[in-house]
């Protein structure tokens, strides 16, 4: 299928000649022109074909697979919203990349803001037991709450908050990127806070 071939080429462009690259860009350009006329199948094939390419770009800049996926979805939604602005007489790549770069930059800004927030939240959660002599957070409750997290999130919390390892050490130990660990920690803290404050899920 054309779409699948395109994915492979874009994710690993070095294996292909420049002529082939022009071909799939032309394919995309044609599919987008059809989408503008209301061809849903061409549109679905186009979005499916560009998604891995967008994902690879986003992952390279954001580090976290979850954040990269969010950025891919933001990009696809923007593509949908501004699809009338694509001119089929011009290459499709620069149009798509301009949108993707903007959405990744937005996501990066949001991540930085959230990271600051999660550090503040971690201070609150982290200091509470010490301040109140282990009476606030019962270890069993914490263990039970950790069971509710995804394995990645639980691992991030254990290494970074319970064993108090540095981000670099934890990244080296798990083989995951620092960005991925930060994102997992943030999500885990949010879930833990909810769980510990509101009690176990029914």
């Amino acid at each position: 299928m054309t779409g699948e071939r395109s994915n492979l080429r874009l994710v690993a462009p070095a294996q292909h000649t420049e002529g082939e690259q022009t071909n799939y860009e032309l394919d995309w350009s044609i599919m987008m022109a059809r989408a503008q006329s209301g061809d849903g199948d061409a549109y679905r094939r186009l979005l499916t074909a560009v998604a891995p390419y967008l994902r690879a770009r986003a992952l390279a800049r954001l580090g976290s697979p979850e954040e990269a996926e969010d950025a891919v979805q933001d990009t696809l939604i923007t593509v949908h919203e501004v699809r009338q602005s694509y001119d089929p007489g011009r290459p499709f790549g620069p149009w798509l990349v301009a949108i993707a770069n903007r959405r990744v930059a937005d996501r990066l800004r949001r991540m930085r803001r959230r990271h600051k927030l999660s550090e503040a939240a971690a201070d609150v959660v982290g200091n509470a037991p010490r301040r109140q002599d282990k009476t606030v957070l019962d270890n069993r409750a914490l263990e039970a709450a950790l069971d509710d997290l995804t394995p990645e999130q639980a691992q991030a919390i254990r290494l970074l908050r319970l064993e108090e390892q540095s981000l670099a050490d934890a990244a080296a130990q798990t083989g995951r990127s620092i960005g991925a660990l930060k994102a997992a920690t943030h999500r885990a803290l949010k879930a833990l806070r909810r769980r510990l404050l509101e009690g176990p899920r029914p």
């Binding site: 891919v72 949908h80 602005s85 001119d87 301009a98």
Partner: protein, 219 residues
């Protein structure tokens, strides 16, 4: 969060045909036609300045007028081009040459003519009418510009709005030159860039959530 393949299904499922945007130059020409219409309507209702024929023979005045008109068209083209994803940032430089010409001609006029103005003869009524001209020209053209740039937040916000402000300001400058003896280029530029800044602030506060709101996604 919805999974990406599901999102693609939703987007493809709700796909409707769209009319492609025309080229930035074509759209700028359409905008300039409306701008010319607004200025002509104002000229008919308020009347052109009494010494227009005489002033047109002055090269500085003719250059300032031509410069302002060219600035308006180039700035409009720049605004529409900058709003399209993937178009070069260099479009922002398009209105620079006519803008320099306009400002230089206005500056030269000030140097050679300012002594002729009789400060006492400038009444409050004149200033109010000038301001009315600026507002009456700017408001409809601003609305049209915003309508034509409504999706521009997708990739760039600041540059298209700045270029749009300049296009409206230059049109107001043309109207002032034709209708009033008072040179108010500084006031016009300040007013329009003030409006531009206000619009950008509003867009920054509310704009981010707007493009998404028209989609009904199962989140």
């Amino acid at each position: 969060m919805i999974r990406t393949p599901e999102l693609i299904d939703v987007l493809a499922g709700e796909l409707k045909p769209v009319r492609r945007l025309r080229s930035p130059v074509f759209r700028a020409a359409c905008w300039a036609l409306v701008a010319a219409g607004v200025v002509i309507l104002l000229a008919v209702s308020q009347g052109v300045r009494a010494d227009l024929a005489q002033r047109l023979s002055d090269s500085s005045f003719a250059l300032a007028l031509g410069g302002a008109a060219a600035t308006a068209i180039c700035a409009a083209a720049a605004a529409f081009a900058l709003a399209v994803p993937g178009r070069s940032r260099l479009w922002a430089l398009l209105p620079a040459p006519p803008l320099l010409l306009w400002l230089a001609a206005v500056g030269r006029q000030c140097l050679t003519h300012w002594v002729r103005y009789d400060a006492g003869a400038m009444m409050m009524g004149d200033t109010a009418r000038c301001f009315a001209t600026v507002v009456l020209t700017s408001l409809p053209l601003w609305l049209l510009m915003l309508l034509m740039l409504r999706r521009s937040g997708a990739v760039r916000r600041v540059l298209p709005t700045l270029a749009g402000s300049l296009a409206v300001a230059a049109t107001a400058g043309v109207a002032m030159d034709l209708l009033h003896a008072l040179d108010a280029s500084a006031m016009i530029l300040l007013w329009n860039f003030g409006t531009g800044t206000a619009i950008m602030l509003i867009a920054a506060l509310f704009g981010r959530t707007m493009p998404m709101s028209s989609l009904s996604l199962p989140r």
